[in-house]
């Protein structure tokens, strides 16, 4: 039986609950992306917070707090088969107990390690690569990460910029973390119109571009290395990769 869920973390956990107390699962899929199979029947699972909570604390208690983190990071990844990797991991985890993550090369456990690594790597990258601009006193950053990492970067910036108001906008998923007065929330988000930068904002962007431009040591040039660190797909939202020689001169 294929289980279809609504795309939420609680929904996924509810499916896992029913695997134990209902019909066994052959696969879990997002209801919005499911293509019907000719062999398997499917069932749409209604998200139930109470049941989800049971699975949530079972993972934490029977496996570990760290395993729960890994599962959550995996859930936020863009991996197409993540639901089934998570199900397999949780199933084996309930058998192996608190050392589950140490079976590093086990074929049901390794995918979780690898996906976790990718998501946490991208999260760490964007702690550095996110760029804010000051729009009438509110700091606004747009980006389009591979994985759904907005909730993972929020705490870092909420502490760092605690006296500011900021918006971290995932333009790929139309989601944003909105922060003000020491708390943040995640919300659906779309800009109504394009943003006009003030003169002061433009000045600091140009100063940064000018500074960045000056830093390379030409004798050490290594463009390939730079591409490894800053992939092309990230560059369109980075101030320092979007300037013209003219814009630097017209201050």
């Amino acid at each position: 039986m294929n289980y279809l869920y609504d795309g939420s973390f609680d929904g996924l956990l509810t499916c896992i609950y029913w695997n134990y107390y209902g019909e066994k699962i052959s696969g879990i899929y997002n209801v919005n992306q499911y293509q019907q199979s000719i062999i398997e029947n499917y069932k749409i699972i209604k998200t139930d917070e109470k049941l989800a909570e049971k699975v949530y604390s079972a993972i934490e208690l029977k496996i570990s707090k760290q395993a729960l983190d890994y599962v959550y990071y995996c859930f936020l990844s863009n991996n197409l088969n993540k639901e089934n990797y998570i199900l397999d991991f949780v199933k084996i985890g309930f058998k192996l107990g608190k050392n589950t993550l140490d079976y590093y090369s086990h074929d049901k456990i390794m995918p979780i390690h690898e996906i976790y690594k990718k998501v946490s790597f991208e999260r760490h990258r964007f702690l550095g690569l996110l760029r804010f601009s000051d729009i009438k006193g509110i700091l606004y950053a747009k980006y389009s990460p591979d994985h759904n990492i907005s909730v993972l970067v929020a705490d870092h910036f909420a502490d760092r910029l605690k006296n500011e108001k900021f918006i971290i906008h995932d333009i790929k998923r139309n989601l944003a973390v909105v922060y003000s007065d020491s708390s943040w929330y995640l919300t659906d988000f779309k800009l109504k119109q394009s943003i006009e930068y003030s003169e002061k904002e433009k000045l600091f962007q140009r100063l940064w571009q000018g500074y960045f431009n000056q830093l390379s040591i030409k004798e050490r040039k290594n463009i390939n290395l730079q591409f490894q660190f800053v992939p092309a797909r990230y560059r369109k939202n980075l101030v320092e990769f979007n300037y013209t020689v003219d814009s630097l001169q017209n201050i």
Binding site: L96, N99, D102, Y103, Y104, S105, H106, M110, H124, L127, G128, L129, L130, R131, F132, S133, D134, L139, A141, H156, F157, D159, R160, L161, K162, N163, E164, L203, F204, R206, L207, W208, G210, Y211, F212, Q214, L215, S216, I217, K218, E219, R220, K221, N222, I223, N224, L225, Q226, Q228, F229, V230, L238, V239, E240, L248, I251
Partner: protein, 412 residues
């Protein structure tokens, strides 16, 4: 406003040869109005030479009274001069930081007028940033040799890390290239900083709330390839700096020709990047792999093999210690296997507690098997396929390298 950009360009250009970019080592929540510090360090962007940009790295001024031959800011060099005011530095740091361009500030300076005058201005800038703007992020500051101890102390209570550049590994080299700088004068502030750190630790053990003095420790930097000093000399010098002054980091900087002088390599010399890379690898082995400098190099063999990394070179010289059994070796022994890093050694130890490790599973753990397989056994079985003989292994690794290069050419 154009004036600020011009100054920024001049003073960033003059500071860019300083290699330290680290912002790690201090984990701190936001205790002021803005800023925190991540223990693992955060890179914000990368320049076209592939170096990470983490800190706003600038000089207070490039107007220098010294005439060091290797330095672009020497008094006899004809370059544009500029100086920032402390307020300009502070405002720029905060505005860049708010936009998440940077992780903090790296403030250095040429010696304008005299060491005390310069250090005083550095202190003023730091005081503005910390007290007026309430900045709680990362600051790395250069101690100016020859400045009053009180000024160095004042800066140390405001900064996370402090450094004094030793510049060159030997007294002789320094005498030739930086005649106005005396070794004692460079070592004195290092000693002062170290003393203050020790003293501060003691005070803080009694009074927890007293302020921290350079919590990120001190660092220094050496120029590689401007003088004929061997890798052995450099590594010995760096090891003694680690031991004597509790250095957190010794940086190496491949010399980029900025001047012609009979005492310097010709202006057309390329910076010795490969050599710099080998030195960093060796430095890594000293700091994290528990190697000693004289295990890696000797007076008879004073330079690194540019074809092979220092760890595998060590393994070739100590081939009698191999192969090592993956399922029995201690953590320290695992770290000595070429191709096994800190993370994979850690994973091996962890997985061994619960399950045996086979040749195939090791590959999944991030080990570089193309090197490790010649130096290991798995439950007694050897997978190298050839005799454990340095020349034979070298031959095969070289061949692989050539094949790799050929395939790159074919692609192009």
């Amino acid at each position: 406003m154009k004036e600020i950009l011009e100054k920024l360009k001049i003073l960033a250009d003059a500071a860019k040869y300083d290699v330290s970019c680290a912002s790690n080592g201090v984990g701190r929540k936001n205790k002021g109005k803005i800023g925190n510090s991540s223990a693992s360090g955060i890179c914000h962007t990368w320049t076209s030479d592939g170096r990470c940009v983490s800190l706003l790295k600038i000089l207070m001024t490039n107007d220098c009274v010294y005439d060091c031959k290797y330095c672009i800011n020497r008094i006899t060099n004809n370059v544009q001069r500029a100086s920032f005011t402390p307020e300009e530095i502070a405002a720029l740091t905060i505005e860049f930081y708010r936009r998440n361009y940077i992780e903090g500030l790296f403030l250095s300076s040429a010696v304008e007028k005299n060491p005390d005058y310069t250090m005083e201005r550095i202190c003023k800038a730091l005081e503005l940033i910390r007290n007026k703007y309430g900045f709680s992020g990362y600051i790395h500051v250069k101690a100016i040799p020859g400045a009053d101890n009180l000024l160095i102390k004042r800066a140390g209570f405001l900064a996370d890390r402090m450094s004094v550049n030793i510049e060159l590994p030997t007294r002789e080299s320094l005498k030739i290239l930086a005649p106005q700088k005396k070794v004692e004068k460079l070592l004195l502030p290092m000693k002062q900083i170290d003393n203050c750190i020790v003293e501060n630790k003691e005070v803080r053990s009694k009074f927890k709330s007293s302020p921290k003095f350079v919590p990120g420790g001190q660092a220094t930097q050496m120029i590689i390839g401007a003088t004929p000093d061997s890798d052995y000399t450099i590594l010995q010098a760096s090891q003694s700096l680690y031991n004597r002054y509790n250095m957190k980091r010794v940086y190496f900087s491949a010399y980029v020709p900025v001047a012609s002088s009979p005492n310097l390599p010709s202006i057309n010399t390329m910076p010795p990047l490969k050599r710099e890379h080998r030195l960093y690898q060796a430095d890594w082995l000293l700091r994290f792999y528990k190697f000693k400098a004289d295990e890696l190099l000797t007076i008879e063999q004073p330079n690194f093999d540019l074809d092979f990394d220092p760890k595998i070179s060590w393994a070739f010289r100590n081939i009698d210690k191999f192969p090592i059994e993956i399922n029995k070796a201690s953590y320290e022994e695992l770290l000595r296997i070429p191709g096994v890093g800190i993370k994979s050694a850690y994973r091996i130890i962890n997985q061994r507690k619960v399950a045996n490790i086979s040749y195939d599973s090791l590959k999944k753990m991030g080990t570089v098997l193309k090197r490790a397989k010649y130096f290991t056994t798995f439950n007694g079985k050897y997978y190298g396929g050839i005799q454990i003989d340095p020349d034979k292994i070298k031959g095969i690794l070289r061949q692989k390298e050539i094949q790799k290069q050929l395939s790159i050419f074919e692609l192009a």
